[in-house]
């Protein structure tokens, strides 16, 4: 079974300068699974995603994505929505061009008819078909988030890496987003790994939760991985989570 894993991480340690961001992390993700990554600020969640993408190199341990080391994994099968939108909004571009760049892995000068069709389709998947010809700088934060999701979906990925995908999206939009994501997942068998601070989302939309605080504090079905004991360990005595918080939105 492990040969078919979409993500196979074993004993991963990542150092950023003198700082150990991740230490001895091991887990694997199978096709069709949705893994919610949770943990306090500075727990190494984004670093984990960067390690999966090959943007940072492990100090020890190994990462395999779709059976390859990160830098050799087929990039066209990996969709990525970053947390901080590093996109330059002053760049003269239309939304459809940004989405099409997800397909081309390069900036499009001119969109072919087929690309235009695929772009519109990807945008409609996230309920944003109306944004197609809107310039980037006129998108709101939530709109940009959807557009990024469309940009990741257009390549029909086998793995989606989402860093706080719901940030900036309103509640209705968030529900829509998860509906669209789950539909795409059912059709494609794509695996999803998403960083979130939303415990409810993790419990409702993820098949597994991964609790992280530089080390792996829990991994498995959300109810088990997010047990009170694991949470106390992950968040420490100064930042323990009250039961009522876990019922509501954490942020």
């Amino acid at each position: 079974m492990s040969t078919a894993a979409v993500i196979e991480v074993s004993n991963l340690t990542v150092r950023l300068g003198a700082f150990t961001a991740l230490e001895g992390v091991s887990f694997s993700v199978q096709p069709g699974e949705t893994v919610a990554v949770l943990g306090p600020n500075g727990a190494g969640k984004t670093t984990l995603i960067h390690a999966l993408l090959g943007l940072v190199q492990p100090a020890a341990g190994s990462v395999e994505i779709l059976g390859h080391p990160p830098l050799e994994a087929p990039a066209e099968q990996i969709g990525y929505v970053p947390q901080l939108k590093t996109v330059d909004r002053g760049f003269p571009a239309l939304t459809c061009e940004l989405v099409a760049s997800g397909h081309r892995r390069s900036w499009p000068g001119r969109l072919s008819r087929a690309e235009h069709r695929e772009t519109t389709h990807a945008l409609s998947l996230v309920g944003a078909a109306n944004l197609c010809h809107k310039p980037l700088r006129w998108l709101s934060g939530g709109e940009l988030q959807r557009v990024y999701l469309a940009r990741a979906l257009i390549r029909q990925p086998k793995l989606l890496l989402l860093d706080e995908p719901a940030t900036g999206i309103d509640l209705v939009g968030e529900d829509d987003m998860y509906t669209h994501l789950e539909q795409y997942q059912r059709e494609s068998g794509c695996a999803v790994l998403m960083v979130t601070h939303d415990w409810l989302a993790a419990q409702h939309h993820a098949t597994k939760a991964l609790l992280l605080n530089r080390k792996l504090m829990g991994f498995g079905p959300p109810a088990e991985a997010l047990s009170d004991e694991n949470m106390r360990q992950a968040f420490g005595h100064t930042g323990h989570v009250h039961p009522q918080n876990r019922e509501g939105r954490d942020d």
Binding site: L53, G54, L55, L71, A75, I78, Y80, P82, K85, T86, V87, D88, G90, F91, P92, A93, L94, E97, L98, S101, G102, R104, R105, S106, W107, P108, G109, R110, K134, P135, W138, R151
Partner: protein, 271 residues
Amino acid sequence: MTEMLALEFMQRALLAGVLTALVAGYLGVFVVQRGMSFIGSGLAHAAFGGVALGLLLGREPLWVAVPFTVAVALLITWVRDRTSLSADTVIGIFFATSMALGILFISRLPTYAADAFTYLFGSILSVSWVDTAAVGALALVMLALLPLWGRWAYATVDREAARADRVPVRLDDYILSVLVAVTVVVAAKVVGIVLISAFLVIPPAAARLLSRRFLQMTVLSVALGALTAAAGLFASYALDAPSGATIILVQALVFLACAGYYIAFRKAASV
């Protein structure tokens, strides 16, 4: 105008000026969109150090200034990459250092350094066929690198996405800074070191104001650059005014017109 075109030095200046403007207009869209406008200015001043060294060594300044400026460009990019200092800080350090070296070299010259002033302010009379050929070679290199437009633009919009898609963004940073360095040096005689950075900034900025898409901005920037360079050279001949300054003033007029248009008609629209 025909009388002017019959003059060999004008032919050289026009060819060198327009080719430089084409290259600078093209590179400039990346310079402007990456917020690197200062690097053109910084490398131009570094070029002064190289030119002065060439004069001191009694060599053709171009052949000394090109490697000198390219080395400074690589150093700037390398230090910026390896430290947490911001680009403008690193550029500021190397800019002043190269300028200081240039002044020191010139002070060692046995004769009056009239040549150095040609490079500082530009002079169409001084543009040789060697200079024109150098600009031509640069334009050919740029033409050969046109297929990189897509990935340079991609990394300009979203560096992290481009990295995740395996675009060699660091290598491209070095390539771009070397190209800017060479452009600045070969353009020095036509436009002058003091003004060359405008070639990399004004046409792309004017084009930005009129463009919804990056391809449109690129094409407009190249066209505006070439047109203003030609118009500026004609005006400089007609008015017997310094060529570099005249070209930049023509570019500034075009920019003002674009800005006026943008503010009046397009502010609420989607550009």
